[in-house]
Point group: C2
Chain length 455, copies 2
């Protein structure tokens, strides 16, 4: 009887927990789900009498250690800042640990120590990071094995809303951590295009988004996703002329988000010295040229260089930026006020179905011929709880758990799922769940080239 | 015999240490200067056989405690992040402590505890913060005492370069912490203008600078300095229609700095995945639209909306942004590369004289008449070592030390120099050093109004 502990029962953990609940008998598992919120735990284990739910505060060393001590295999679905706490205990107490978060320098060091003790420590076992690596590296390996020479690697991904649930003018609802939605893209994006270094500062990022069709559906747009350059060495693509990872949105989002950035509403560092009774209209007026004779909406349109009937102005108005709604808190930063607003406006309704899309586009030369392969994933959720996001974050973790506990991951050496000995069986298992990539091959067209900054 | 310890012997400590050295005999002081750099200590105590110089690592609890234990009055000139270490020891060991840095929540709490033990703990005893508070509050008190009702408070300050040493096209050299120069203005500036909230996001801040004359010299410009709103309660100005603190530069600086912001060179959070052999021209090309047939300089001018012969283009070229100079390091953020470049290009030469300017402009109604008072400080340094910055940071600290040790600050209750019982004797002592404000009164003109954002 293997004892599995899941730390964190938030939205992304739904599918993972259901998978574990469905497999306890067959796999002879004993599974505990722990979260600080009793409601969340109850909601997740409901209908699974074979799952133990416990309320626990992970920041309490006593509660955390007591739980870890009593299990063999730990899955941390906690915010990434809490993984190190859990990892240190797992290392000390000799327990295996997996997460869906990036393996940072601290976690890499802990994983190396764990390996020496014969423990399985692995991160990046979710969607992005996770499935992105596994699916891209499978393609790269196949192309290289067949003698192809890769000249361009583009990879796009986005957590979106299914067409039938796309009911607001932003074409977006929040299906994952809202903080990450608000702060997306801050810093400088970096990629390589036809041998040239490309750097995109934050204040130009959303304005540089370009329209794109994925899996035949011509309704998306994509912007450069942070640091693509580090994937050159990570994916074994030294010398590649073009590499870019991009974030996908439904078309129309980026121009409006660019307006929020230009207005200054995504600053997360400056607590504003304003009263909670300030209205959104007054806050926006504060950010615009002072002209008491014009309406805030018309000043805003002028400031953004848009006509009053531009769809972006409707998107901003729909959020209530020109309304008398009060901001409702004191001393928050602009990004905090925006987050509070969007969490409400972009809430997933009970029957809403989310959507995850991912597409890799790889150009390569083979036998004197330029070719392109496109590999696309389109996966929709069922409702507010059974989301595509929860499926794609949870199932790689679930399969890694099952494979490891069945002794099928003994050859793994890295703390990330880059090796075929783990990526292939997980991808195969996902295919069994109906999660497959649609592949098309063609003679090469020009590689997808990104528009240059235009501001 | 009072024993004084100065922690930190950097550029801003020069005047303070000379003052202490000049007064040891008369005041019966024993003074120790401690710094991690033996060179800095030697340079500062050189010529003052009555000053003890010691090399000490302040982050070593043992070295720090040993030094503090052996003194009565501690002056911390360390970076502000290290003050708390020193303050905790001073509290435990029963020693007095002053600094020139902002009193944050941690230091405020330590100061309250220190007060209960009968200790003198005070921060904001330098130039800005320090002299700005003392001189502004003196004016505010005088106006209120004479029955005036204040309707507008503007206060401008800048650490600059004297006209005769202004030898580069930026009209700027580094006379204080270069990191603060690079990151100046990040976040959202906030002030109040004629009753209206004004918020200026970073990417518009330098473009919104306006020309200004100070003390009759029409060669400056000023931009909004972070959070002016908090000064409303700090300075007892509840309900004031207009309040703004501004940062002064010599005219021509802000438009060029705005170009650096627009290019994305002030991002301090994104390590770039580029080689140390990358040239500045290549780095700038990466930030611009891709057009291999145009020169980087001309692409840059187009991108910034400037003509090729705009003075800003000369300023950028003078920094070497279009040159084949290598960036010289791996994995730094754009702001780090920029800081390395500017620290070199904007170095103070041995005979260079720096300049500090400050001006308060207060409008008030009195006896049915609107009036304005302007109070201006213009103070130049002597050379690279004896800077105006070191004078104006060091002398308030020096006088506070002298006054306290002579028993003249017994009525002080706050951890900042806001009370007349400390501000007045310090301002009087500074006047004795030749540091005076030039005051002019006039019937009111319109209050200085800031241009609205124009981008």
């Amino acid at each position: 009887m293997k004892k599995i502990l899941v730390f964190g029962a938030g939205r992304s953990a739904t599918t993972l927990i259901r998978f574990l609940g469905d497999h306890t008998r067959k796999e002879q598992w004993q599974v505990t789900v722990a979260d600080a919120s009793g409601d969340l735990v109850q909601q997740k284990v409901d209908g699974y009498p074979n799952l133990d739910g416990v309320v626990a505060n992970v920041t309490s060393a006593k509660e955390r250690t007591a739980l870890i001590k009593n299990h063999d295999f730990i899955i941390s679905m906690l915010p990434w800042t809490l993984h190190a706490l859990v990892a240190k205990d797992c290392l000390r107490l000799g327990k295996h640990l997996i997460t869906a978060s990036y393996v940072n320098a601290d976690m890499r060091e802990l994983a190396a120590k764990a390996r020496k003790k014969g423990l399985f420590f692995m991160g990046e076992l979710g969607l992005d990071p996770g499935l992105d690596h596994m699916s891209a590296l499978r393609l790269i390996r196949q192309i290289k094995a067949s003698g192809g020479h890769i000249t361009s690697f583009h990879s796009y991904a986005g957590g979106l809303i299914a067409e039938e649930s796309d009911t607001n003018p932003w074409h977006y609802k929040i299906t994952w951590n809202p903080r990450n939605v608000i702060l997306a893209g801050q810093g400088t994006a970096q990629y390589r295009d036809k041998g040239q270094l490309r750097l995109v500062p934050y204040h130009h990022l959303f304005g540089s988004a370009m329209p794109i069709a994925i899996d035949g559906k011509d309704r998306y747009e994509v912007y450069a996703n942070r640091d693509s350059l580090k994937y050159i060495s990570m994916y074994g693509l030294t010398g590649i002329p073009s590499i870019m990872r991009g974030t996908v949105r439904i078309r129309g989002f980026c121009k409006a988000w660019d307006a929020l950035v230009k207005l200054g509403l995504t600053d997360s560092v400056t607590p504003l010295g304003v009263a909670e009774s300030l209205t959104w209209k007054q806050l926006i007026a504060g950010l615009l040229p002072d002209n008491p004779s014009a309406s805030v909406r018309s000043l805003c349109a002028d400031y953004l260089g848009l006509s009053l009937d531009d769809v972006v102005m409707d998107q901003l108005a729909w959020l209530g930026l020109f309304s008398d709604q009060q901001i409702g808190d004191r001393g928050l930063a602009p990004a905090d006020y925006l987050q509070n607003l969007l969490t409400d406006k972009w809430k997933l309704e009970p029957q809403d179905r989310d959507l995850v899309v991912m597409e890799h586009r790889i150009h390569f030369d083979k036998g004197g011929q330029s070719q392109e392969i496109r590999s696309s994933l389109h996966h929709e959720g069922s409702d507010q709880d059974k989301t595509a996001m929860a499926d794609l974050v949870g199932l790689p973790l679930a399969h890694a758990t099952r494979l490891f506990l069945n002794g099928q991951l003994n050859e793994v050496t890295l703390p990330v799922p880059f090796e075929p000995c783990i990526a292939e069986p997980i991808l195969d298992a996902l295919a069994g769940d109906g999660i497959t990539f649609n592949e098309t091959m063609s003679l090469s067209t020009d590689p997808p080239s990104f528009p240059s900054l235009s501001n």
